[in-house]
């Protein structure tokens, strides 16, 4: 069986490695073959960008060579796919080469699209790329006080990012001694401070305790750079000296250009993870249209379930388990405390009070990630 993995991010990498271990014998005998196509020979630990943006990580800490993360049996090419010919069970990549498959896994991820809101990209800082995170940190270093507004687009990668950056900025300004000259104003698209009700129940009094103001039901409509205000679809506006955004995301352009899903998100079966209407096309990570968090842990747990199923399909002709919607997110509550939320389709999270221990576990996970990507953790 020829298995083609498109995308070398967290989902694609964990899936390929997990699968390679499960199919070690089949790979040796030639009964199975795993090929990965990626746009880059580098693998980025994307959650690290949050720390880069406040000066608590350097860029080199976020990267490894993609080949170094992959099991030896995986054939790897830096050759991004340009055309998906699903009816022919093949793709055509940038090099012009065609790759045929029996099973394909699409894990191309998502991208921030601040440019969709007029004035946002020109007037806001963000941290979803290395370049923008570094720019944000340099801006923070120059900041001497004023009104800081956090504005959030939908959908976005990492559902905890709005809260994390807010609380981490609070500690950053406090450490610099400019908190008394700084006012932090948090906005959020729905009627509470976080989509997870139990997280909002913790975060709202925490903001009130710290003097962080908040406005809910605030969906960005436009940013007026001259007047330094961000206006909402709901009719309100927030004045800023420094605007930090968690921008809306879309799936990758190649998904949209090939007509695989609106705004780049592929309609996906919530348990089997196959593309709706296709039995040999699977989707993991941000690329799905599933109503769950666009987060690394989502990609991780989906990849584990899917690897087990594809391996079972090779060995016995049928998948063996359903993905249950599992997500696990750390929540940084400042510079030295954190908590976490774990949930699935059936069970909501019940986050506990933040502790130093969970923060240090998150710090450890930032290094352990590389074992996770290799499929070892």
């Amino acid at each position: 069986m020829r298995i083609l993995v498109v995308g070398g991010g967290m989902g694609g990498t964990i899936l390929a490695n997990n699968l390679a271990r499960r199919l070690a014998g089949e790979l040796r005998s030639g009964k199975a073959r795993i090929t990965m196509l990626s746009a880059s020979d580098k693998h980025m630990y994307q959650p690290g960008l949050l720390y880069l943006a406040i000066g608590r990580a350097t860029p080199d800490e976020l990267y490894r060579d993609q080949r170094s993360l992959l099991e030896p049996g995986i054939e790897f090419h830096v050759d991004p796919v340009e055309q998906f010919q699903l009816d022919k069970n093949q793709v055509t990549a940038k090099s012009g080469k065609t790759y045929a498959y029996d099973v394909i896994v699409i894990a191309t991820g998502s991208r921030p699209v601040a440019e969709e809101i007029p004035g946002l990209a020109q007037n806001a800082e963000q941290f979803y790329t290395e370049e923008s995170a570094l720019k944000m940190f340099k801006r923070l270093q120059q900041f001497q006080g004023g009104r800081v507004v956090i504005a959030v687009g939908v959908p976005h990668k990492c559902p905890m990012a709005p809260l994390e950056i807010t609380f981490m900025l609070y500690d950053y300004f406090k450490d610099r001694g400019i908190l008394d000259k700084t006012k932090i104003h948090y906005t959020y698209p729905i009627g509470r401070t976080h989509s997870l009700e139990n997280v909002a129940k913790w975060a709202t009094p925490e903001m009130e305790r710290l003097g962080i103001t908040y406005e809910t039901l605030f969906n960005m409509k436009e940013v007026d750079g001259a007047k330094k205000v961000v206006r909402s679809e709901e009719g309100s506006e927030a004045a800023f000296d420094l605007l930090i955004t968690i921008p809306a995301h879309r799936g990758m352009e190649v998904i949209e250009k090939n007509g695989l899903g609106q705004r780049g998100f592929i309609p996906t079966h919530r348990h089997r993870l196959n593309m709706e209407g296709r039995d040999n096309v699977f989707v993991v990570g941000d690329t799905t249209n599933l109503p769950i968090s666009k987060a690394g842990s989502t990609a991780h747990f989906e990849a584990e379930a899917l690897a087990e199923n594809i391996a079972a399909m090779v060995k016995m002709g049928t998948p063996v388990r359903d993905y249950d919607g599992k997500v696990f997110c750390f929540i940084e509550a400042g510079k030295d405390r954190a908590t976490y939320a774990m949930f699935n389709y059936q069970n909501p999270p019940d986050p506990k009070a933040p502790t130093r221990a969970v923060h240090w576990f998150k710090m450890a996970y930032n290094k352990l990630y590389w074992a996770s990507a290799r499929g070892l953790l």
């Binding site: 959908p155 729905i190 009627g191 989509s195 009700e197 009719g235 109503p291 059936q346 999270p349």
Partner: protein, 76 residues
């Protein structure tokens, strides 16, 4: 031509039904109807609240076997 799009947010704790609807609105055309499926009772109130605030149209809400169906129309 008006179409009705299904937004299946059953079992969605994060981002949740309203966030799913806000995202789906971006892909919809003016006049399109969207039907949100939610297993969260709170959605039956918070979706119409947001819809009214941003001046779209709330066409109706019903509950069937523990699933709330909230139908809205993109008006602008």
């Amino acid at each position: 031509m008006t179409t009705r799009k299904l937004v299946d947010a059953r079992g969605s704790f994060c981002p949740g039904p309203l966030m799913e609807l806000i995202a789906a609105m971006k892909a919809a055309q003016i006049g399109d109807e969207l039907e949100v499926l939610s297993t969260d009772k709170g959605s039956a109130n918070e979706i119409p609240e947001w819809i009214h605030k941003v001046k779209h149209e709330h066409l109706g809400t019903k509950e069937e076997n523990g699933v709330w169906h909230v139908v809205v129309r993109k008006a602008k």
